[in-house]
């Protein structure tokens, strides 16, 4: 039975060739991120390292992506950059998904009561503040750091999950199988987590996958502004910042990390599309 499901799932996923490209890309990114310190040519360049003799050298055989103003190998730093970006996305998701989901479940189940009003209005407030502004405020209050940037992003991102789950939960709550559980006397936590939540997982996972790219971009933006990871951390955004004043002459310093960001977003988006197809219910 299970094998059949997997085969059918793969069939649905792979019908769009782009999804496969997405899957391959994401696999590469994860692979690089996990094994960065093994496969990067100059792993030490990801930390405190300077070699001013070798600074700003264009792509050559020794440094395939060239070197940055500090003489550090751009390729190695980009590989480590994937690691930091992915890590940030994972941390942010670990924070926002449980919080957003629980709030959404509760607000959805108790919709049209004061609980719904309180939760959803708070959600609206957080949504109303532009995320970048929110991040800047947080970083101004606390010192700029990778961790604080993640915290700031979490603060502005969780409402979307609340909204998603609220929408699904409040419509599911009127289905007969929920009524049946209530009539039987099931506890509220059972209904929220064992009855409603399983029916939301498909959309939840799809959303998470599609969002990884955007979270990474947001993080890179913050780092670009100096609000995120601090030097010498090889965050992709910081790397773009390192080189953008040197464009267009020393293009490789900003462009390669930039391409890495695009590649990541594209990969996750394509894979997310495939995931959506995989989880969709087929009808002819």
């Amino acid at each position: 039975m299970e094998k059949e499901k997997i085969k059918k799932g793969w069939y649905k996923f792979s019908r769009n060739k782009l999804s496969i490209i997405g899957l391959i890309s994401v696999t590469c990114i994860i692979f690089i991120a996990l094994l960065a310190n093994v496969i990067a040519p100059y792993p030490k360049h990801a930390g405190w390292f300077t070699d001013f003799d070798n600074a700003k050298k264009s792509p050559n055989l020794r440094n395939i992506f060239g070197t940055d103003p500090f003489g550090r190998d751009v390729l190695s730093r980009t590989m480590f950059g994937f690691r930091y970006s992915l890590m940030m996305a994972v941390v942010v998701l670990i924070i926002i998904v449980p919080i957003g989901t629980i709030l959404g479940l509760v607000a959805g189940y108790y919709n049209n009561t004061w609980i719904d009003t309180v939760i959803m209005r708070v959600t609206d407030i957080f949504l109303a503040v532009p995320s970048l502004l929110m991040a800047m405020m947080v970083c101004a209050l606390l010192r700029p750091s990778a961790f604080n940037a993640m915290f700031a992003m979490s603060m502005s991102w969780w409402p979307w999950y609340t909204r998603l789950i609220y929408g699904l939960g409040s419509s599911l709550k009127n289905e007969y199988f929920i009524q049946s559980a209530e009539i039987m006397g099931a506890s509220t936590s059972h209904i929220l987590f064992r009855e409603i939540l399983p029916n939301c997982l498909a959309q939840l996972f799809t959303k998470m996958t599609l969002e990884v790219g955007w979270i990474i971009l947001a993080g890179a933006t913050l780092s670009f502004l100096g609000l995120g990871a601090q030097p010498p951390t090889p965050d992709l955004g910081t790397m773009v910042a390192d080189g953008y004043t040197l464009l267009p002459e020393y293009w490789w310093i900003s462009i390669f990390p930039g391409i890495a960001i695009v590649f990541t977003i594209l990969g996750f988006n394509l894979m997310g599309d495939g995931l959506r197809d995989l989880l969709s219910v087929e009808e002819f």
Binding site: K8, Y11, K12, E282, F284
Partner: protein, 330 residues
């Protein structure tokens, strides 16, 4: 001049899905003369809607595949028509009333607008060109014909503002507004209350008599078609199993499925709960090679499993596809 308005000949329709091919329609034959009223009875999943969608060529192809069969409308093959001819037929000759009025009406357009577009396209097709005023007048006329009160005000309403019965009547109005030669009504009134459904069906009957249109009335409920049609086709798992005049079908059903179906209906006069027909519809993925009712039939003989029974003419316009009545394998 061809004898039949619509002639479906040996129609087979398959659907390709991941698991394989669903062989849904298995040699469907249906003939209707101009002005004739026929009923198509069958339960969920028997293929009646697929058949109807094939007539109008609104089946999604792929995943639908039509390996063989012809549908002749006024002698012309529907599958061979080009888009222009097909659209002409759709606009002025054949109209359809769908089962679910909520789904059939566009929620973002007012009723008046929907009527207008139908009238415009059908009259243009016939070569007439009507002014806005004339179209509006015709809309009101047709709404009055379906017994909708306050027709003028109704033109300005959105479908969501109206009750189920009214929506269904608007669908009927739209179908009549393009007054064609053939009306296909797919379970009209199924989602309506009994008293309203009664009104709606009566209305359809009267209109059809007045306009002289042919009608195919599809239903899963036997009682619905009684009093409204002349002949009935019974369909099971993609094939026509019995054809008869309406009174003959009820008084002398021949096919075991038809008999089982009639027996399954609880009677108003009492008699307890009928047993129903044991078993369930065959899998279209791997249907039985012969008669598809064989697995559930108490009279099944070895030949029934081998090949599809031929349609045997029992006289008096009563035909049945069953080896119990003789016939060689097709």
């Amino acid at each position: 001049m061809t004898e039949f308005l619509l002639d479906i000949q040996e129609l087979y329709v398959n659907f390709r899905i991941y698991e394989g091919i669903l062989k849904v329609l298995n040699s469907v034959n249906l003939k209707i003369k101009p002005g004739e009223k026929i009923g198509l009875i069958g339960e969920t999943g028997c293929g009646k809607t697929t058949t109807m969608k094939s007539i109008l060529r609104i089946l999604p192809i792929p995943p639908a595949i039509i390996p063989s069969g012809r549908i002749l409308f006024e002698g012309k093959d529907i599958f061979k028509m080009d888009v222009k001819e097909l659209n002409s037929v759709r606009r002025k000759d054949i109209s359809m009333i769908f089962q679910d009025p909520i789904a059939a009406l566009n929620p973002v357009f007012k009723v008046g607008k929907q009527l207008e577009s139908v009238i415009k396209s059908s009259t243009l097709e016939k070569g007439e060109e009507l002014s806005k005023e004339e179209i509006k007048k015709r809309s009101i006329t047709v709404l009055k014909e379906v017994a909708l009160p306050d027709a003028e005000r109704l033109l300005n309403n959105y479908p969501i503002q109206l009750s189920g019965g009214m929506r269904q009547r608007i669908c009927i109005a739209i179908a009549i507004a393009s007054a064609g030669k053939l009306l296909i009504a797919d379970e009209p009134g199924t989602n309506l209350d009994v008293t309203i459904k009664d009104q709606v069906l009566r209305l359809i009957g009267n209109l059809v008599d007045e306009l002289g249109t042919s009608i195919i009335l599809i239903s899963h409920a036997l009682g619905t078609v009684k009093g409204l049609v002349d002949r009935v086709y019974t369909m099971y798992a993609g094939s026509i199993v019995e054809i008869a005049r309406i009174d003959d079908l009820f008084s002398e059903p021949l096919h075991p499925y038809t008999r089982g179906l009639i027996k399954s209906v609880p009677k108003l006069t009492g008699g307890g709960i009928p047993a129903g027909i044991p078993g369930r519809l065959p899998e279209y993925l791997n249907p039985p090679a012969g008669c598809r009712f064989a697995p559930r039939c108490e009279h099944a003989m070895p030949i029934c499993w081998k090949s599809l029974p031929p349609i045997v003419d029992e006289g008096n316009e009563h035909e049945v596809a069953c080896y119990l009545y003789g016939g060689e394998a097709r």
